[in-house]
Symmetry: C2
Subunit: 388 residues, 2 copies
């Protein structure tokens, strides 16, 4: 059920002392092949962490044999010295793998991911020995790797999706989508399918577009977000592009929902279904505007089906709609029809964790769903107390 479920992968998770808690904080995923294909999707933030800048270059090279990940520090906003630290980490990983006779590779085949506080250098005197230790404990340890990348996650997130003779495995971390205070959503997917770089890239982009890209917690874009897909080809089976994209999407969807479920400050898991839109972009824009609206999110925290705030959020978008034609349902009760009050709001049951907001724009036939959480006291507490 992890990144080591597909054939051709080994992993490790060890404690290097980056976290003051002594919890595991260095993970390693190695692709034993025969292939070493890779695709990557990265944060759109223009302020990118050193490991993102590094790994973007590595992915462009088309071959990744190893991914080394650390929690306990984001290595973002650390200047040229921070980039040198990432480079040194990749070099040390390659050298350790070579000296342990695992793989004879260069640093250019090593992807690096980091997560933790922004603006501080990594303690390289602990990280590098940790990398060597991880190499020494490589094996069927996808679970340990998933634990080592946790920050304020309360549980590791892993997944597996089976194809016909091939599988996709994955792990992810996110300090709750409501609170990416650790500045990062990291995800590593593995597959033993045979797939070329174009197919991998197409599958990963198709998957993230409708999963991670539509989970909008607090609108705060991270400096470190990285999603990698590694292909070993060890199954000998080459699925169609559609089959591969479908499996990768299922894996990403599962992991994204696990992130939402573990959102640290959240008491609600909210699906915003926008239907009747003129096009898909409109639906996503509307869903995102509602997902990012603090007044909607605090209302949900208060078990308040405040459809007026939802409508006010819809009104900030450029989507095609007429204000007096919009319908809104909260957990199945159409509290707003034609832009005005309809069914009695007291009928809405918001006592559970799951909330579905359905918005019908009556402007077309397309739809999209965006997921979010509520805005709670715990969110404020967690994020105001984080670095001090």
């Amino acid at each position: 059920m992890t990144v080591t479920t597909p054939r051709g992968f080994r992993a490790a998770g060890v404690a290097a002392g980056l976290k003051t808690s002594g919890e595991p904080d260095v993970a390693l995923v190695v692709n034993d092949g025969p292939d070493a294909g890779v695709a990557g999707v990265f944060t759109a933030n223009r302020v990118k962490a050193a490991p993102v800048l590094w790994t973007q270059q590595v992915v462009r090279g088309g071959i990744v044999r190893a991914v080394v990940l650390n929690s306990g520090g984001a290595n973002a906003c650390t200047g040229p010295a921070g980039f040198q630290d990432t480079h040194a980490t990749a070099e040390h990983t390659a050298a350790s793998l070579a000296s342990a006779d695992v793989h004879q590779i260069g640093a250019g085949e090593v992807a690096v991911c980091s997560t933790g506080l922004i603006g501080e250098r990594l303690p390289m005197d602990r990280l590098l020995p940790g990398v060597a230790a991880a190499v020494g404990s490589l094996g069927d340890n996808g679970g340990a790797a998933a634990e080592a990348i946790m920050t304020t996650d309360t549980r590791p997130k892993t997944t597996v999706v089976s194809g016909a003779g091939w599988t996709v495995g994955g792990m992810a971390k996110g300090a709750g989508m409501l609170a990416p205070a650790m500045a990062t959503m990291l995800c590593v997917l593995t597959t033993d399918a045979v797939a070329g770089p174009e197919a991998l890239d197409a599958a990963l982009r198709a998957a993230t577009r409708v999963t991670f890209d539509r989970v909008d917690s607090d609108g705060c874009m991270s400096t470190n977000d990285t999603v990698l897909l590694l292909a070993s080809g060890a199954s000998g089976v080459a699925p169609s592009e559609t089959e591969l994209a479908s499996a990768v999407t299922a894996a990403c969807h599962d992991l994204a929902q696990q992130l939402l479920a573990d959102a640290e400050g959240a008491t609600k898991q909210v699906a915003i279904e926008v239907v009747g839109s003129a096009d898909e972009d409109d639906a996503v824009e509307v869903g995102r505007a509602v997902a990012r609206n603090n007044l909607v999110k605090t209302a949900l925290f208060g078990n308040d089906p405040n459809w007026g705030r939802i409508l006010a959020a819809v009104g900030t978008t450029s989507a095609a709609f007429e204000p007096d034609a919009v319908d809104v349902a909260v957990n199945g009760i159409w509290v707003c029809r034609g832009g005005a009050a309809a069914e009695d709001r007291s009928k809405v049951d918001l006592s559970g964790r799951d909330v579905t907001i359905r918005i019908d724009l009556h402007a077309g036939t397309t739809e999209a769903t965006v997921w979010t959480n509520d805005l709670s006291h715990a969110y404020v507490h967690e994020n105001s107390a984080y670095s001090t």
Copy 2:
């Protein structure tokens, strides 16, 4: 020090029973002339409350003799019936003013503003008698009018700015800029200057562009925001357009800062000064991105000079800048230089209420300031408990 300080204006504030608390909730401002010029700026939200739709029409007519305002209900998302309620309120105001021999005017010269919960009809059986009562108590009562438009404001906001022989007065309400839960910022400005409609419009737009438009509390655009400027010409003095714009800007700035100071959930009043931008739009975009960032706002609530989150927010914009060239100071301490850590963050004193974040993009010579508050437990509490 109120809307009745300039010559030619009377006002009233009465309790009509719209608020369950029994506090004043209906305000009236009457322009006794000789002129009855008006300019207005309204919410950009496409979901506009009935009084906004009405008052936009009235302002286009160019003449406003009376502004009637109510708290205790926004009359937003109330459909055609809600618009009829606004129309009836204007008609009743005109009729009451006529029967009291104050002014013989039609409903088309009456602006209407409402503030309170979205999605509920106004209790017209209370509002209309309240309007009549307000007409009966017209006088030098700008203070009472300012009190009657309060929602969760803890104190009324009024201002006066003196010109050479003429003045600008004003009142505003906002449930704290951090928490426009009542869905509205309302402001009425009065002046006894002699000014044509173009001069009034130019002055008001110039003023709001650099004051109310740059106060960004929680990014939630209201359905009811209205700023009106009424001119009586009673001073007989015609200031230059520059003089008028300068005085109106000073009045708006004063009221905007009072709104920030009374932000209910806020513990910090934050000025985000963006300098070294390629153009003013870039500076405003960067300032707004930082002002709206929940991670920055919660950090400030926690007295945490978390410049990494500030940089991550800057990175989400399209402004011209190089990530490794940005400097950030918090309360005068340059904690970030060239996109990386600089002065010791422990030097930053965040114990007070006022916070200044200065961001130098090193991309040009223009600048702009955006104001905001922090994101606190009280914000979450206030907005999750509001309508229930």
